[in-house]
Symmetry: C2
Subunit: 404 residues, 2 copies
């Protein structure tokens, strides 16, 4: 790079929706994605929701020539689903798991089992340090029980980027953030890190209207979920930032628009985001790219704080109510034990309880006790984590006010 | 600092062993620790195992004058137990929870519930970025089932420090690492980060022989555990590193030696470590402090890799055996269901099973099923995490060999 004044970096980002047995025409789509990546020859490929290691291995074999370096991030029960392919050597990786990640009993959503996380990849001889990640999935904007968790994740992601990217030349962040551009989580992330959005900064744009990445014309999307948004929604991003003596410009941004060329199906239920970045070394080191102005940032922070506090109140209530349920189940069990002991001691005249319903009741009480204790444990962790985030945000607010 | 050429930084580090209802004479010891800190006026106080927020609040009230800035790190069910008090403003904090942290069913150890983690604290106007943390507790060196987990934690800690400390001027790491100086985890941590040990570098040392921090003469330590080590063991450390245009020297290191002055009890079952560091700005920015030489580091890495691999094999076996147990319990339940259905359909002549033992058996099968399924889930996560660490270490090894 010293002798070469500029680098053109072509980035591909896609949420592949490759869940074994569940995602439609998965293997066919993975093959299509691999073919497309081979044809176009991107420098950096960021994929999400590659849940099966077999799919990763297939892609790795296919991309061996154009992107010889790759990494698959492991975490949670099923994995993180994150993988990265690169033309440049990958020197180091780091995985950061979000502390809150949905609820284990929301089995139909499955987020808790995935171990949602952000994976950091450090590029080598090229002066690039691109972290890459995915935030918590959004299910229903109307009554969003996950909102505080997603704000905690946006905050943790922003903090992770701030702390790890200090010595990087260029920071790239690609992934399915599951938040609209105007949502408080995105504004917090962008304001707190100074990351810029390729969609708003690109000199040329080609693709779905408004840069949407979840569109009604894609045959795999749920039409009912997109009803309030006739154009679709934009939730997949490529964000960037030049940290030290470099400048980054987005020359072009493209998205896919439904079906893949030459076939009747799209690559995924999401559209791919393809950005061409122009990275150049500056003659003089200049001041670091600033995020939002102080007052605007303070406003976003206070909005996020409110949401986290609402989540904290809900989590406290759930902790209390699951604890109460556990105590009630324990009392019932004790009562039954006393009854049995009384019977054994011959205090009761005859057998007042039918044996079967008595043991069924005990069985139920034990099940409720175990379940409620587990929930109590889980919500206790949730309360601690929300409290911790609230405190960190308050500290950030104080620092902002003292050093605007 | 620009006008002031040097800074003397006095650091206090102690594992306080302050577990509510369990630790002996806890409130008295917390009072003693607070008094001692007020008297001595340290610049930075790193405390571990402060499990009760009430103890933290008491210390905070007491230290308000000498260390006006403080932070308590929240995580896990009970908390992280980590807190920091500082003379300098704390501008930012970050908590990183280790991905592996003992086993939830080892209730007597309790590690899983604590959420062991590393807390990062970023100092403000002073050019200091001291992370501060505690590693997994060691219980029995003879048959150490936790060893792979502790190596994973040492590796994650080293990676966390490498990635977050790049832009820091000075890195300080204090805490109870629960590893002896010659253990592979410590060698890995020091080699991979370049951190230096205050005990070996100090110009003056005063305290327990060999710098031990868990000594037989402390009335709270378990004598039987220390039997193989007549002098005691050194498991609490203050490590440091100057990253950019600064030099750090350790002028003095002290440890407490059993009972606190003027009383008949020690501050804790651990001895406190007190370091005086001399931090100076260099005239010219020099090269970054290097860790171990390449070949020595590669040797440590390969030793750690072996241990992680052993842990991986054990975790895979446990995952398999808990899965098999869950399947067996499920089969038993199905068999019982078939028997009940058969009976209801009138296929069986009369009632062949005594009702009570039949329902007790069903109850047992459900309990075993739930337990085994939970264990299977847990060991699946363990396998993923050990695999991920193994891969990261192999990548580091490759990079070391290619760029020695």
């Amino acid at each position: 790079m010293e002798g070469d004044p500029a680098l053109q970096l072509r980035v591909f980002d896609l949420n592949c929706w490759a869940i074994r047995y569940l995602s439609k025409r998965r293997q066919e789509r993975i093959r299509l994605i691999g073919d497309q990546l081979c044809r176009e020859g991107f420098d950096l490929v960021l994929l999400q929701e590659i849940w099966s290691e077999q799919d990763y291995s297939d892609l790795k074999a296919k991309l061996g020539d154009c992107c010889p370096f790759s990494h698959y991030f492991r975490s949670g029960v099923i994995g993180s689903g994150l993988c990265v392919f690169s033309k440049f050597p990958i020197l180091d990786t780091l995985l950061y798991q979000y502390s809150l990640n949905g609820y284990p009993y929301m089995l139909q959503h499955g987020d808790w089992f995935c171990g949602k996380s952000v994976g950091l990849v450090q590029g080598g001889s090229q002066p690039l340090c691109p972290p890459f990640f995915q935030l918590h999935a959004e299910y229903c904007r109307e009554k969003d029980a996950y909102l505080p968790h997603r704000i905690v994740q946006a905050w943790e992601l922003a903090q992770f980027i701030r702390h790890t990217a200090k010595a990087a030349d260029v920071v790239l962040l690609g992934g399915d953030l599951n938040m609209h551009p105007e949502d408080v989580g995105i504004r917090l992330l962008r304001g707190w890190t100074g990351l810029q959005d390729t969609f708003t900064e690109a000199k040329r744009f080609e693709g779905c209207e408004d840069g949407c990445t979840l569109i009604p014309s894609n045959c795999f999307t749920f039409k009912s979920e997109l009803q309030p948004f006739p154009l679709g929604i934009r939730i997949d991003y490529v964000l960037y930032k030049a940290v030290s003596s470099f400048t980054v410009e987005c020359e072009e941004l493209r998205t896919t628009t439904g079906t893949a060329p030459g076939t009747d199906i799209p690559y995924s239920d999401h559209e791919a985001v393809m950005a061409t970045l122009h990275i150049q070394r500056k003659r003089q080191a200049a001041s670091v790219t600033r995020g939002m102005a102080g007052p605007a940032l303070a406003e976003v922070l206070s909005e996020a704080l409110t949401e986290v506090h609402v989540g904290l109140l809900a989590a406290r209530w759930q902790r209390y109510s699951s604890g109460r349920m556990a105590v009630l189940a324990l009392l019932l069990l004790l009562l039954q034990a006393v009854a049995v002991l009384g019977m054994l001691a011959g205090l009761a005249a005859g057998q007042p309880f039918p044996k079967l319903s008595f043991s069924l009741l005990a069985f139920l009480a034990v099940a409720v006790l175990l379940l409620a204790a587990g929930l109590h444990l889980f919500h206790s962790i949730e309360v601690k984590m929300l409290q911790g985030t609230e405190e960190q945000m308050r500290m950030a607010m104080r620092v902002l006010q003292e050093h605007p």
